[in-house]
Symmetry: C2
């Protein structure tokens, strides 16, 4: 099977063999993807001209309905996607749900945003404001959709959610989505887009999909395009320094990996619900999707007095994790996505061991229904570093797999300092029953984070998860995390809009404002 | 005289001769500036540690009062600054006022913003929102000041306004200002900061000034610093691709030059007030500060039928401009800032002449009280290009001096297309008495602009000017203009804050929200 690209309103296969997509459990080839010969320039122009015009003619409510239509197609086909996620990503049922249902749920949320915005086609930001003594002359701010495309370069770990969270927000803004999934796991993205296109719910040019290498994509961007990238810092740097991106000052949003942390409060002694919720969360973040989430917990900070208890509790819980072929229903953790990722994780663990010792995992791998040679498994590995204040590697090297490092802190101020040593993270979580500790820690670590989750006993069950991106909350962190921001309700629309000030007669401004929805809801 | 730098709480002179600051009328040396031997790393650390801590301890109201204190010092010394602007920048009284009063006025406006925000120290953005069925678990968004400094790299044309619009917003946000004015005109920045420091109104580390080369400044930035740059696209590109800036994902706001346009409406026939206001604005933008404003009108689009009338009217008005030494009170236009700028403008005009012919100016220079050999004057030059749809240079080459190109358009749709050919501009203005033409053009050119001014007869006198940046409106345009945004009331605070989502118990979130002011006013 060869994955075609959906460009210029039709499916086009690459002209050569391309790259193989491999089952990370069985080692077998599932499909191939190639973009050789695909006219990316024509595809971009088609999307900008046809798709852009179509979307800008629609109201937010109409775009919302379009997005709802996509979600409905995917919902109807939902069950068929789990087998793909299992085969191409080695996903368990829960892993698959996070990606598949996460994508569909995000689309549904974005569709509702469109409904809320109603009959407008653009946004106003704030009220009219006087600029001089004469009340007749005032100013306001308006946001209109950019005239280009949203170029969405996605990571291998979320072929569904990554695709749809970007495409949904882009389309709602009135900007065509031009998606480039990671080739290694593109099968799910391909099948979903195929189903949506076959269902005829998307006007020409509104949704494009490039399966295979990105080729000259970045050579062809303009100052009216917006590139949203999720992936490694290295690729992010290549994008940021790309000649065309620089020259045309292309909008660029980066979500890079980060060393997210969680903090156990000084009050949360063994036996408290917060202690138990903390242990559960660390284990869940380590093992869900085999730790391959940009938001996963890499560093766990606990009061020095309880580090032994925490280590024992996590070790015990990890002991119950069943690693192996997700086709076996007893399996609770699958492989990482590829041999090269497996190698990278093992190398990262080796580096971490220069500062941390192994509590459990690291090589001690018992597999269910899988051949270690053919597959890409990593044992759930808990490390422990007792000198986090003087250590460096534990705050810098990210094992993109089922690996976390447990570290002690001396006092509340040090917990904040240690979390911030990540130099910018997507998320941190705080497990505590102490309201003041929670507030001080939230505000203390805030400058270095994109999201902070606080869990006490009362929300321990209702909370949506350290690693789960909710579409009402911004996703993206400063510094190392890429300094980007996606989603966050209406906030996510800003990236695809140009906001500008309009100065003029107050009554004329009211006339412009009358056609706008409120950017701040 | 040698300009010292104010770093680490004291004045430090560079150890070598440094660069000369030259009077652009007389050609004489006014001062020298050098940063050789200045410990920039220690200065940054001092600002981050002392200045940052001091500001974060203050409420917005207290920071506003601090900024008001700066404005008061400058107001008291105001008259003394005009002589510096005249000597170092060749400014007329009006030119000087735009820079000096513009800076003071912007500080006063920012101080009032602080008063409005009151006793809070950080911001909340939007309301609490539910994330799951359980109402107890919710989310909100908070913005806290970043922990670094605002590194403000300014352009030569606004040594006062450029300094203070950036420093004011940064300080209000709780982030120390670390200013690096353009060396060529740094005398005014130096004297103003000296007066402010001497007055003792600024706590240690809150305001730093580097006079001379930037040296290793960008090698020392962190992911918690924010660089605000105004200047050329080339320097912007160097900043964007700087290794440290890339690696640490440093916040970067760029204001680059752009080919701003103004559009005369089809209704605005000769004899209408809109026609007259248009001509006045073009002439004012061409000659104020000798056309050295990033926001100046470079391209003037008029209905084909009236281009002859417009050319004649502008030519007549330019004929009344008196060019020469601003010390002579009859003079209404001064020089450009330096011989190298003079050369660059003449080269740009030569390029423009490949597509446009000269209506007036270009060499025909009559100087009052000035020696052409020693000084840096450019004749106010109006060009005309009758084929703007097929021309390229007129939409691409920016003469940073008293030069504009007049061009005809065939219909309203083409006027929009031509304005957008600038590929991103800081500002455009529309002169029309037709409400519908105004609205359609505003929304049509919006994606390519940071600000749009609409002038009809009723606001012709009250309007604040095409080229004047008002602190209540965002300043910055997409694409070529750098894709940045400064000012805009409270919007300007976002650049110096980290916005993050907080998820947790609703009542705990209310506790965090209680300490915050509303980011949206």
């Amino acid at each position: 099977m060869k994955l075609a690209s959906y460009v210029s309103g039709r499916w086009v296969e690459g002209s050569d063999q391309g790259t193989a997509l491999i089952d990370p459990v069985l080692g077998t080839e599932l499909a191939r993807a190639s973009t050789t010969g695909v006219d990316v320039g024509a595809a971009l122009a088609f999307a900008r001209d046809k798709g852009g015009a179509a979307l800008r003619d629609m109201t937010f409510a109409q775009r919302g309905a379009l997005i709802k239509g996509i979600a409905d197609v995917l919902t109807a086909k939902r069950d068929s996607y789990f087998a793909i996620a299992q085969a191409n990503s080695g996903n368990t049922k829960i892993d698959g749900a996070i990606d598949i249902d996460g994508g569909i749920g995000t689309l549904k949320y974005i569709a509702r945003l469109g409904e809320t915005l109603g009959a407008a086609k653009y946004l106003k930001d704030g009220k009219l404001e006087r600029l001089s003594r004469d009340e007749a002359f005032q100013a306001m701010h308006v946001s209109v959709p950019i005239r280009g495309v949203g170029i969405h370069i996605n990571a291998f770990n979320f072929p569904s959610w990554g695709l749809w969270e970007k495409a949904g927000m882009s389309i709602l803004a009135g900007v065509p989505a031009f998606a480039k999934p990671a080739t290694a796991t593109a099968l799910l993205s391909y099948q979903m887009v195929k189903d949506v296109i076959d269902a005829g719910v998307v006007p020409p040019g509104v949704l494009s999909l490039v399966c295979g290498g990105a080729r000259e994509l970045t050579d062809l961007v303009t100052g009216q395009d917006a590139i949203a990238f999720t992936g490694s810092a290295d690729t992010a740097a290549a994008l940021k320094t790309h000649k065309r991106v620089i020259e045309s000052c292309v909008r660029l949003n980066i979500e890079a990996d980060s060393l997210n942390s969680c903090i156990l409060g000084p009050d949360a002694k063994p036996g408290t619900p917060e202690f138990d919720f903390f242990v559960r969360e660390v284990v869940r973040e380590m093992t869900t999707k085999a730790g391959q989430k940009c938001t996963a917990i890499r560093r766990a900070f606990v009061p020095k007095a309880v580090i032994g208890d925490v280590a024992a509790a996590i070790e015990a819980a990890l002991g119950k994790i069943v690693v192996g072929n997700p086709r076996n229903e007893t399996v609770t953790m699958g492989p990482v996505v590829s041999k090269s990722q497996q190698k990278a994780v093992l190398e990262a663990v080796a580096k971490l061991k220069s500062e941390a010792k192994v509590v459990t995992g690291d090589g001690a791998l018992k597999l269910v229904d899988a051949d270690a040679d053919k597959s890409c498994f990593i044992a759930p590995t808990l490390l422990r570093c007792d000198t986090p204040a003087t250590a460096n590697v534990v705050h810098d090297v990210e094992p993109f797999g089922p690996v976390s490092t447990l570290m002690p802190y001396d006092n509340a101020a040090q917990a904040i300092q240690l979390a911030d040593r990540g130099e910018g993270s997507l998320v941190a979580s705080i497990f505590t029953g102490d309201k003041d500790f929670a507030r001080d820690t939230v505000l203390g670590i805030g400058p270095y984070h994109g999201r902070v989750l606080v869990v006490d006993a009362s929300v321990g069950k209702a909370q949506t998860g350290h690693g789960i991106v909710m579409p009402m909350c911004v996703h993206g962190g400063p510094g190392r995390a890429g300094n980007g921001a996606e989603l966050g309700g209406l906030r996510g629309l800003a990236f695809y809009h140009q906001r500008f000030a309009v100065q003029g007669r107050a009554d004329w401004l009211q006339n412009v404002a009358a056609g706008a929805a409120d950017a701040n809801g």
